[in-house]
């Protein structure tokens, strides 16, 4: 049994909107072990990014608020922590890399200074030492000519290089957990492959855990040990990677995998999930996927299924997997 790093239990994050309260994350639970990569996958609006921001306690209040649940980092409850203490955790123990590196970097400071700032904030190193450390981080994330690149402003770098700067910044204090929110979505395929390779290498090197958030199932298949599939604020399937991709159980996961172009017979009609993600302010009663599901029964419209276990590591929120029923 590996060591537990992060434990999320019944997390609930609610946003107050003009149309009423929206439960963006509605009672989700999963664990991250030390050195493990968890893939969190789902379409836009499913709550995957809100989950990441909740872990960092970066939900802006108002309009958002974490209204329930528990997040424990190494046994410490981080939701009830004073803000000052939480600030020490951010960047130091948990770091985050966002999708769009251009908007996450400050345009008026050089990339190197921004990485150095993160180091100074958390490690109290002097000017010379922190700069050397920043250059070393640049080298580690594969930025060529790190001393020269240190002096570059964000606009002087390409998208792939900027994402490397973000990763350098996130890893500069050797966090135990790196949250990567769509880290390769804005990048070209050839550069995406480079960043995936880099993240995998660094994870091994530092022995850190990785929470990888993306809508791209193939990126998840390449990187994750365990996969969590979200739909409309809830976890619909949770399984080790090899099980999820060889034997997907929830109709939504099955539908997503089947509808990916380029993997099955080209030119044929793609199997699709009809309709679209429900409006989070007007969720259907019963199962949230019921109006789009090919395998629904009357029960699905009335009662919401629990997260049933198929075996000790594979869970699916679908009445099909209710053992008492069959």
């Amino acid at each position: 049994m590996k060591k537990m790093l992060l434990k999320i239990k019944n997390l609930e994050t609610v946003f107050r909107t003009e149309r009423g309260n929206v439960r963006a994350v509605d009672g989700i639970s999963f664990d991250i072990e030390t050195g493990q990569t968890i893939g969190l996958v789902g379409e836009s609006g499913c709550g995957k990014s809100v989950t990441a921001l909740s872990i960092m306690r970066l939900i802006s209040d108002p309009p958002g608020k974490i209204t329930g649940g528990l997040i424990e980092l190494n046994g410490r409850d981080i939701l009830s922590m004073p803000v000052k203490e939480m600030r020490k955790i951010r960047g130091n123990e948990i770091s985050i890399v966002f999708q769009e590196p251009l908007s996450s970097l400050n345009p008026v400071f050089t990339c190197g200074e921004q990485v150095r700032e993160a180091i100074v904030l958390h490690q109290r190193l002097g000017r010379k030492k922190s700069k050397a450390r920043a250059v070393e981080m640049f080298r580690m994330v594969g930025i060529p000519d790190p001393e020269i690149r240190y002096k570059n402003y964000p606009h002087q770098m390409s998208g792939g290089m900027r994402q490397r700067v973000m990763i350098a910044m996130a890893l500069s204090c050797q966090p135990k957990l790196l949250i990567a929110d769509e880290p390769t979505t804005a990048l070209d395929v050839s550069v995406q492959a480079q960043i995936i390779e880099l993240l995998q290498d660094l994870r091994e090197k530092f022995g850190m855990s990785l929470l990888l958030i993306t809508h791209d199932l193939a990126v998840i298949a390449q990187m994750a040990d365990k996969v969590v599939v979200m739909y409309a604020g809830k976890i619909v399937e949770k399984a080790p990677s090899e099980k999820l991709f060889s034997d997907p159980s929830h109709p939504y996961t099955q539908g997503l995998l089947a509808s990916m172009p380029g993997y099955s017979s080209p030119g044929k009609t793609l199997p699709v999930i009809p309709g679209r993600v429900p409006d989070p302010a007007k969720l259907p009663p019963g199962c949230r996927f019921s109006d789009r599901c090919a395998k629904r029964t009357d029960r699905c419209f009335k009662e919401e299924p629990a997260l049933f276990s198929l075996d000790n590591s594979h869970f699916s929120r679908c009445w099909l997997h209710d053992k008492e029923e069959s």
Binding site: A193, M223, G267, V277
Partner: protein, 321 residues
């Protein structure tokens, strides 16, 4: 019958030399000598990474921007020689579907008027039949007739893309250029739009130029595929042979970079090192040479010609010359 033929298309962008910040610089060669030809009923996929010039090429073919050099023939008509009334009349033959379904629809126009506008301008049907025509187009793209009186903001991204397709179809074009039509959509919606595009092609015998960066999408919708790199087509071949046996090292690298959907047995290794160089200072010889794993001496010296192999495939690489 050849619907669209383009020869030697070049589009260079130069910075004007008068402003305070400007300095005389070499032009950006966004498109640098492209020949393509699309047959009736064919779907040609144009794939490449950002900055390779694929969208610029699409816009040049639409004559939304004027090329620096080259010729475009639309079913035998010299498209670039047309002016005024003749040009407006001929524009009907080539229509575009844009990437962003949010900015490509007029927010102050109802869906019905958006679709009807082209029908009226080009007098596709008599005035009193316009509405029926709009309804049948909405039906073709899977929207209810009631959609005609609604505004774009009332629709989701996928539905707006359906409207964009209906608008393109409205004037009965010979060819549709689709520039990243599904890139902004969620996976489940993306599959719906890909199916719609494919069904329309089958039902109506449509001809497409399909521009995308996603190789999976390209593989699904194209009969033939052109791979573009830094303004040039580096490989052109039928879909099946391109995906089963890519010839150009760039195509091979791109295909190897796609994450596999099967559970990882081995780690994904980046197949292409480095990034696309700036199109301002292109390398002397082959433009892919600095990143190419198989670069040879001649690659650095001379740009390779676009050759046709005995199997009838075209590739721009010294390995095959």
């Amino acid at each position: 019958m050849t619907i669209l033929r383009a020869e030697g298309i070049k589009k260079y962008f130069t910075s004007s030399g008068s402003g305070f910040f400007s300095r005389s610089s070499s032009p950006v060669k966004a498109v640098d000598g492209v020949d393509i030809s699309i047959e009736e009923g064919e779907s040609l996929g144009l794939v490449g990474e950002s900055g390779c010039g694929k969208s610029t090429l699409a816009r040049v073919l639409m004559r939304l921007i004027e090329p620096t050099a080259g010729k475009i023939f639309l079913g035998g008509i010299d498209f670039l020689a047309l002016k005024g009334k003749e040009l407006r009349k001929t524009r009907r033959r080539i229509q575009m579907v844009f990437q962003d379904p949010y900015s490509s629809l007029n927010p102050r126009m109802t869906i019905g008027n958006t679709i009807a506008e082209g029908i009226k301008i080009h007098k596709i049907v008599e005035r009193r039949k316009v509405r029926t025509r709009v309804h049948s187009l909405l039906d073709k793209v899977g929207l209810p007739p009631a959609a005609e009186s609604r505004y774009p903001h009332e629709f989701s991204g996928g539905q707006r893309q359906r409207v964009g397709i209906a608008r393109a179809l409205a004037v009965e074009p010979d060819i549709i250029i689709a520039d990243e039509p599904v890139a902004a959509l969620d996976l489940s919606v993306q599959a719906q739009i890909i199916n719609l595009i494919r069904d329309l092609k089958e039902d109506m015998g449509l001809t497409y130029l399909f521009v995308a960066h996603d190789l999976g999408v390209i593989k699904h919708v194209s009969d033939n595929v052109a791979v573009m790199y830094l303004g040039k087509i580096v490989e052109l071949s039928s879909r099946d042979s391109l995906f089963s046996n890519p010839l150009h090292p760039y195509t091979r690298g791109l295909l190897a970079s796609i994450p596999k959907l099967e559970f990882k047995g081995e780690k994904l290794k980046a197949a292409i090192r480095g990034e696309v160089p700036s199109p301002i200072n292109l390398p002397e010889g082959c433009s892919f040479y600095p990143r190419c794993p198989e670069a040879m001496k001649e690659c650095r010296l001379k740009p390779p010609p676009f050759v046709t192999t005995p199997e009838g495939r075209s590739v721009r690489c010294w390995l095959y010359s």
